[in-house]
Amino acid sequence: MSAAASIPMPDKGPIAMNDTSHTPAIEIVGMSKWFGSFHVLEDIDLKVKQGERIVVCGPSGSGKSTMIRCINGLEDFQRGRIVVHGQELRQRARALDDVRKKVGMVFQQFNLFPHLTVLENCTLAQRWVHKVPGSVAIDIAMQQLEKVRIPEQAQKYPGQLSGGQQQRVAIARSLCLRPSIMLFDEPTSSLDPEMVREVLDTMADLARDGMTIICVTHEMGFARGIADRIVFMDQGRIVEQAPPAEFFDAPREERTQRFLEQVVR
């Protein structure tokens, strides 16, 4: 895993847009958000290049999840702007639909549709949103399920799978839509310890394929192995961002040092 930094990175991922490879995948400028009078996010600036892998960490309540949920419009924000592949959120009503077609999201609680089979979970949005014909949607779904190594579970219902398997299905479900960016919101936090590995491995595969990834996680080993850059947040601000080696071995900020003392032994 620690060899991740030396993995050859194609300058364009297989599914990156060819004419926009110079624009950043995501650009957040001066974004602020309040819940009532509580300032959850304060003046966030973050630029993510295509194919870049960002891990966001920090204590709970620091606004990490809220920040990435703003990127695909699950949360609103009051000030600043977010631009995804040159498309500014909030500029026009349809922008959000376009952005959601390019940005996949994986949640802490998997959030599969419990009344649909694994396969149906994976084909649904393809057919309804992207108007892919049924048989093609199934082919794509099976490819992605193979990629996350559970094609044999295709006919089962989410309730019949383990947490780790459900999370891998959730990843496959997102991948079926060919997103160019994947957001992970604490994907392993509600898993049994022995299932964390299989999900992290799946994400590492994605990283190797050149996907742009923003992942909120407490898995510091994963962060060290996979991330190009680690963003540390506290109290709604980005305190520090640095490549993993620098972040773990020579953190500049005192707050970061205290956090690392708590989480890394």
Partner: protein, 230 residues
């Protein structure tokens, strides 16, 4: 024994009336309740609160009282007696259906609303993050959750409605209860006709439950039952 059979056959003359009161009021009540609940959800604030208060009043008043107001009171109103509305309100049968549907609407709208607000937010977020439209999100995330959450209370409500139809006999509708009561009055045999009617009501309730749970299994849940999931 043959007396009992005679009673049974006589009471069963009211079966069609009871069933049609029940089913028609159920359908009208459900359609109205869906509209009322949708309106409350769509227009929160003063609109929703006013509707809610109105529904609360309907739920708070005994059905028998509503039946009496409509059946004995409406004919006194010129705009009902002298217009086309009279064709409906002159019939005790349709008065009963309208009252039952009205009360059913007030209870069911609250069940629908409750089921809607119990929908896990995460399910909706998952659907939206996949790019699904508002209606598609409703279909795949909200509606199934509403069925899961609303099924048990709605079954209870349907059974209560079934038994409420028996009140219709107080405004001269000859349903199961009406025939049973007539035998009671005529023969002074109290237990037999009433118990026979009671058994028929229980049969209707059992069959209703079977139909509802079959429908539920058809449309709502594949795989394991919802309570098996953590």
């Amino acid at each position: 024994m043959s007396v009992l059979l005679d009673y049974l056959l006589e009471i069963l003359q009211g079966l069609g009336t009871t069933l049609s009161l029940f089913v028609i009021a159920l359908v009208i009540g459900f359609v109205l309740a869906s509209a009322v609940a949708a309106f409350q959800i769509r227009f929160p604030g003063i609109v929703a609160r006013s509707i809610w208060s109105l529904m609360f009043c309907i739920r708070g008043v005994p059905l028998l009282l509503i039946l009496y107001v409509v059946y004995y009171g409406f004919p006194l109103l010129p705009f009902i007696r002298e217009t086309v509305l009279w064709t409906v309100f002159a019939s005790p049968y349709w008065c009963a259906i309208i009252c039952l549907a009205f009360v059913e609407m007030a209870f069911t709208s609250e069940i629908i609303r409750g089921a809607y607000y119990q929908t896990p937010r995460e399910q909706v977020e998952a659907a939206r993050s996949l790019g699904l439209s508002g209606f598609q999100t409703f279909r795949v995330a909200i509606l199934p959750a509403m069925l899961r959450n609303g099924f048990a209370p709605y079954t209870t409500e349907v059974i209560l409605l079934c038994k409420s139809t028996a009140l219709a006999f107080t405004i001269t509708v000859m349903d199961l209860m009406g025939y049973a009561n007539e035998i009671r009055a005529r023969t002074l045999d109290i237990y037999h006709p009433l118990l026979i009617a009671g058994c028929i009501y229980i049969c209707i309730v059992v069959i209703t439950r079977l139909i509802l749970s079959t429908l539920f299994n058809l449309v709502a849940v594949g795989g394991t039952a919802p309570e098996d999931r953590a």
